[in-house]
């Protein structure tokens, strides 16, 4: 499958907020009420279209337990977008957002687009975090915000695609250095000149190939 760009995403947030279910809903359009708990990192991918351009989203779904957080950290660096997820029915997952955000900011590249997601919006009766609180937090920290339901698929598509749109915009504005794969963006095979992969070289350390596109 050919694509114009590949964006790498990472999904982060407390354990049990529905990260894997969001991913599954987005990639497979289905909801599994009971999902295996994630050990380490799991992976997903899907093609989307923005501006009539094929964009491949490569999504890294991380384990939420603190124990795995350093694995998560090592993946921040190569990510163009992050979905920071909390569970609107569990306030503590909202309270931990600052920690996650600090972590993400500290370990990612500064241009990474972070989307704040309040998941489980279908469980209105058990809501503990008001939508306004989420909005306020997003405003304060300069994030895009959205409430989703991995169960009903509400806003799931939008969350991933809006993030991609913002990244795309940044590319067009020249904010992202697309030749540096450490930014989590790759130009599709047919769009780039010959792109010999250099075995073993520290992938993130410098630009690979000449940036002539």
């Amino acid at each position: 499958m050919s694509y114009a760009y590949l964006f790498k995403y990472i999904i982060i947030g407390d354990t049990g907020v529905g990260k894997s279910c969001l991913l599954l809903q987005f990639t497979d359009k289905r909801f599994q009420p009971v999902h295996d708990l994630t050990i380490g990192v799991e992976f997903g991918a899907r093609m989307i279209t923005i501006d009539s351009k094929q964009i491949k989203l490569q999504i890294w779904d991380t384990a939420g337990q603190e124990a795995f957080r350093s694995i998560t950290r090592s993946y921040y660096r190569g990510a163009a977008g992050a979905l920071l997820v909390y569970d609107i029915t569990r306030r503590e997952t909202f309270n931990h957002l600052t920690t996650w955000l600090d972590d993400a900011r500290q370990h990612s590249n500064s241009n990474m687009v972070i989307m704040l997601i309040g998941n489980k919006s279908d469980l209105e009766s058990r809501r503990e975090v008001k939508k306004e609180e989420g909005e306020a937090f997003a405003r304060e920290h300069g994030l895009v915000f959205m409430e989703t339901s991995a169960k009903t698929a509400a806003n799931v598509e939008e969350a991933f695609i809006n993030t991609a749109k913002e990244i795309y915009e940044k590319i067009q504005e020249g904010v992202f250095d697309i030749n540096n794969e450490a930014n989590g963006i790759k130009i599709g095979p047919q769009h780039s000149p010959t792109n010999p992969s250099l075995p073993g070289a520290g992938g993130s350390s410098g630009s690979q190939g000449s940036g002539c596109c």
Binding site: K8, T15, G16, V34, H35, D36, L37, T38, I39, G40, V41, E42, F43, G44, A45, Q58, W60, A63, Q65, E66, A67, F68, R69, S70, I71, R73, S74, R77, T89, R90, R91, E92, N95, H96, T98, T99, D102, D103, Q106, H107, R126, E128, S197, P199, G200, G202, G203, S204, S205
Partner: protein
């Protein structure tokens, strides 16, 4: 003898139907004596009966558990025996003459698609047991006519399955251990008499599901050695009661409402995870108040609270789940879980040593068995193999469908040497004490630390695996401060978390589980275990030479971890080193210092720093790893010390990344080790030092020996051992014992088989029961180390340099069985098998890291357990054979001298 089989020796009627494409089927009937009819005999009878000229395949009909008729292939004496047994069982049920229905087809069973692939990869004959003297065995075997002898003859055939019968790759080498068969391994009072053989039978065929509840407890090392059936029942009853008491302690705290601190943290974590562990399985399916889910919750919570050093970590629920399903009893499952965690707790430890080692070995193994694929992974920067994390952490449990994973697990467990508890299995490390009252503030001092420590485990693994980093021996101080940094971060989580626990909404949401939990607890409340306290025996009992090393090894590991946490490792080690100044270690250190190896090792292992230091090679990380997992690294160090221009194939493993081709631009901080650590030792450390030193000495000794092997060659080690053997009892050393091998490699297979005669059963018992009980004077810890004097080591060093190079190239290229995969070599072969079975697909599609990881994620629960196990067994057999051969060669060489 007939009693062994449980049925009399009457003739069995055989009905045979011959199917030939295009021809009408023919039938024949005859009778055979099962006692004298081997597969070969049956085969020749069939040839005569039908006047067959071509090759043909034989199947036999059986009725499975649901009463459906199926055909099973009949390819060996094993199968024939199973077929006879089944016929006999059916005859009892039907109250009729035993009758075996066969069907033969005039074409061989269809060939395995992967045959060519397998053949290409494994041109060798696989034979695990054989270790020399192969010629004399068959004659001897024919002389053994008792059933046990026959059984092992068949095991022997099973070992050879890859050699002459590749069709078997689609079937297990033998049927699962059946009820009746199992009884052959017991004496009249239910004591296991052929423990090692039991394991090897399970290794090849697994266990009949109905028998798992009983046999798993043996495989998991729940029982001390030598218990009769009655004793085992009493023992497990006692253990179950003990468990109930442990559980009631925290249940009572919850019912009092004091859900704070560690208790709140643990229950919160566990609850979330049990609700999404194997819920697709009928056992756990349905609503969240499924009682079995509550049981899983109880098991994990009880374990976490009573093992504060390990606590709870994601992944444990996956390990406990199959135990609960199989035991179908919460208490029994808990006991099994404790036994399993004795071996696996280190995977969840903060230091990440165990996991890092497994990753390292996996990479090493893959490079050895499939260099091309390894290079492909490296090209795609996937050689960190992090996508195998789940495989290693859960020992492949999630890679197979649930029922298949039970088979895989029992095969894997049976590949490990038995490691029974000394007196009894401990169900707690530090018994949980509930906080005094709900009013007191939550004991934050314990819980956050536990969490933070676990976090750093992954920091470390990632740093090691992903970022090609290096860590220094003296980075401890810095790491500590890094941990504190992380601690602060987590602390904020705790605050908010414990606050939120008081929200009514949360309580409501969790109530279903809690209720289930509490309701259940009420039943058991009446029973209080008075002797709970008495079981807080000291972990390490020094001065008991007969003590099983296994436990002390576990303790050693625990101690090691505990000590590292408390910042005393370096102090103790320093102390140890001070007492053993003349040991190899110093020698080695000097050599390394002299060669001015690099100090890219001096770095912090925090991610930030690593980022900056990335270009520096990824070599030795810290002392512990340096000692523990030196296999690869030592080869590299040795490469560089010995001859830095020599391009050893081994060093290609990291050569791309680590470019330490020139010694001068690399630094090695071993020489700064003493200084740093001395600063850290404080008076209060000293009290721990004695016991710690004692426990770590074994470890050091092992590592040093291992290290010697790498640096100086096997011969040196053997010589060393000879020198030491007079004064050192073997029980000091944990000896990996392959259950599939004759324990004493100097013993010929004949002797082993001979030993199954009745009069020697006692010997076997002793051998099997206490594999390392060569009682002798308990040596002083130091003596073992200092016995290797600098003079000897220097002499060998100078003499054997070239020899060493040779030895390393030709012989033990992979770590030995007791260290490969952290003492679980079979797991490594399972992983390598999975990788190799998909390598063509991956390379063919040119998958990148992400696609590969996704590919394997998609394969969760879908791998073919028979194919994977067969290939892994084959590789493992070859590996063991090579190791045995090398070992033998070394021994012969020594004898020649």
């Amino acid at each position: 003898m007939s009693s062994i089989y449980g049925y009399s020796k009457e003739a069995i009627r055989i009905k045979v139907k011959k199917c030939d494409a295009g021809q009408p089927p023919e039938s024949r009937k005859f009778s055979v004596d099962p006692q004298i009819t081997s597969f070969e005999v049956l085969h020749s009878i069939l040839v005569k009966a039908f006047d067959l000229k071509n090759d043909f395949s034989i199947c036999y009909k059986v009725h499975d558990a649901n009463g459906y008729e199926t055909s099973l292939p009949l390819l060996s004496d094993w199968d024939l025996d199973a077929a006879f047994l089944k016929a006999h069982n059916m005859s009892i049920i039907l109250n009729s003459e035993p009758c075996l229905c066969l069907q033969i087809e005039l074409r061989p069973i269809e060939e395995c698609h992967d045959e060519s692939n397998i053949k290409r990869n494994f041109p060798f004959i696989t034979q695990i047991r054989g270790s020399g003297n192969q010629e004399s065995r068959p004659a001897r075997l024919h002389g053994i006519i008792n059933q046990v002898g026959k059984t092992f003859n068949m095991v022997q055939r099973a070992f050879n399955f890859g050699e002459d019968d590749t069709t078997l790759l689609q079937q297990p080498p033998r049927p699962p251990l059946s009820d009746i068969e199992f009884r052959k391994f017991l004496d009249p009072v239910g004591q296991i008499i052929f423990a090692k053989e039991l394991r090897s039978v399970i290794y090849y065929g697994g266990i009949d599901p109905s028998l798992r509840k009983v046999v798993w407890k043996h495989l998991l090392n729940v029982y001390p050695d030598g218990m009769t059936g009655k004793e085992r029942m009493d023992y497990i009853k006692k253990k179950a009661l003990e468990y109930t008491n442990l559980r009631e302690t925290w249940k009572a705290a919850i019912s009092k409402g004091s859900v704070t601190g560690e208790l709140a943290y643990t229950t919160g974590m566990v609850r979330k995870d049990v609700l999404r562990t194997d819920r697709h399985h009928p056992f756990y399916a349905g609503s969240d108040d499924n009682q079995n889910v509550a049981s899983l919750f109880n098991i994990l919570t009880t374990y976490a609270l009573n093992h504060p050093k390990v606590s709870y970590c994601q992944g444990m629920s996956d390990l406990a789940s199959p135990l609960l399903v199989t035991m179908n009893d919460e208490a029994h499952a808990y006991v099994c879980f404790c036994a399993l965690m004795n071996r696996l707790a280190s995977n969840f430890m903060i230091d990440g040593i165990a996991m890092t080692q497994k990753f390292t070995h996996l990479a090493e193994g893959l490079m050895y068995y499939d260099t091309e694929f390894y290079n492909y992974l490296r090209m795609h920067e996937a050689d960190d193999l992090l996508f195998c994390y789940r495989w290693l952490l859960l020992e492949m449990k999630r890679e197979f469908a649930f029922e298949d994973s039970l088979r895989m697990l029992e095969v894997l467990w049976s590949s490990l040497p038995a490691d029974p508890p000394d007196k009894e299995l401990r169900l707690f490390d530090v018994p949980f004490k509930p906080p005094p009252s709900p009013a007191t503030p939550p004991p934050l001092s314990t819980s956050p630390i536990v969490r933070t420590q676990r976090e750093t485990a992954y920091t470390k693994i990632c740093a090691l695996r992903r970022q090609s980093s290096s860590i220094s021996l003296n980075s401890y101080q810095q790491r500590k401060s890094a941990e504190q940094g992380a601690w602060r971060q987590i602390h904020s989580l705790d605050d908010s978390m414990s606050k939120s626990k008081t929200l009514p909404g949360i309580k409501l949401k969790h109530s279903s589980l809690d209720d289930a939990v509490l309701n259940e607890s009420k039943e058991d409340k009446s029973s209080n275990n008075p002797d709970q306290q008495t079981r807080t025996a000291p972990k390490h009992k020094p001065g008991s030479p007969l003590e099983k090393t296994a436990e002390s090894q576990n303790n050693r590991v625990n101690l090691l971890h505990a000590t590292r946490r408390n910042g005393r490792l370096s102090a103790s080690l320093t102390n140890l080193l001070k007492t053993t100044k003349s040991g190899h270690f110093k020698e080695l250190r000097e050599r390394i210092a002299a060669s001015k190896l690099s100090s890219s090792l001096n770095q912090l292992d925090t991610p930030q720093i690593i980022e900056e230091e990335k270009p520096a090679g990824k070599k030795i990380k810290n002392l512990n790893e340096f000692l523990n997992f030196g296999s690869i690294r030592f080869r590299q160090v040795e490469d560089r010390i010995g001859n830095n221009t020599r391009s050893n194939t081994r060093s290609t493993l990291y050569s791309d990344r680590s470019r330490i081709s020139s010694n001068s631009d690399s630094k090695f901080s071993l020489n700064s080790y003493d200084d740093t650590t001395l600063d850290e030792s404080s008076p209060e450390d000293s009290q721990d030092q004695t016991s710690f030193a004692a426990s770590i000495t074994n470890e050091l000794k092992l590592q040093l020996e291992n290290l010697d092997r790498k640096v100086f060659g096997d011969k040196y080690v053997e010589n060393e051992k000879l020198c030491r053997s007079a004064e050192i009892s073997r029980d000091e050393v944990f000896v990996w014992e392959n259950p599939l091998l004759p324990k004493d490699t100097s013993k010929t297979p004949d002797e082993v088989f001979g030993s199954f005669t009745k009069e020697q059963t006692k010997d076997i018992q002793g051998e099997v029961g206490l594999p390392i009980t060569n009682a002798g004077p308990s040596p002083l810890p130091n003596a073992t180390l200092s016995s290797a004097t600098p003079a000897t080591s220097t002499a060998h060093m100078t003499n054997s340099c070239e020899e060493v190079t040779e030895a390393i190239k030709t012989s033990s290229q992979l770590p030995s069985p007791n260290e490969f995969g952290g003492g679980n070599p079979f797991l490594m072969f399972l992983c390598i098998t999975l990788l190799m079975q998909h390598r063509d697909h991956i390379i063919g599609k040119g998958m990148d890291y992400n696609e590969m990881a996704m590919h394997f994620d998609k394969m969760v629960r879908k791998h073919n357990v028979v194919r994977v196990l067969n290939q892994a067994r084959q590789m493992y057999a070859r590996y063991i054979k090579q190791h045995t051969a090398v070992h033998q060669k070394e021994e012969n060489r020594i004898q020649d001298c």
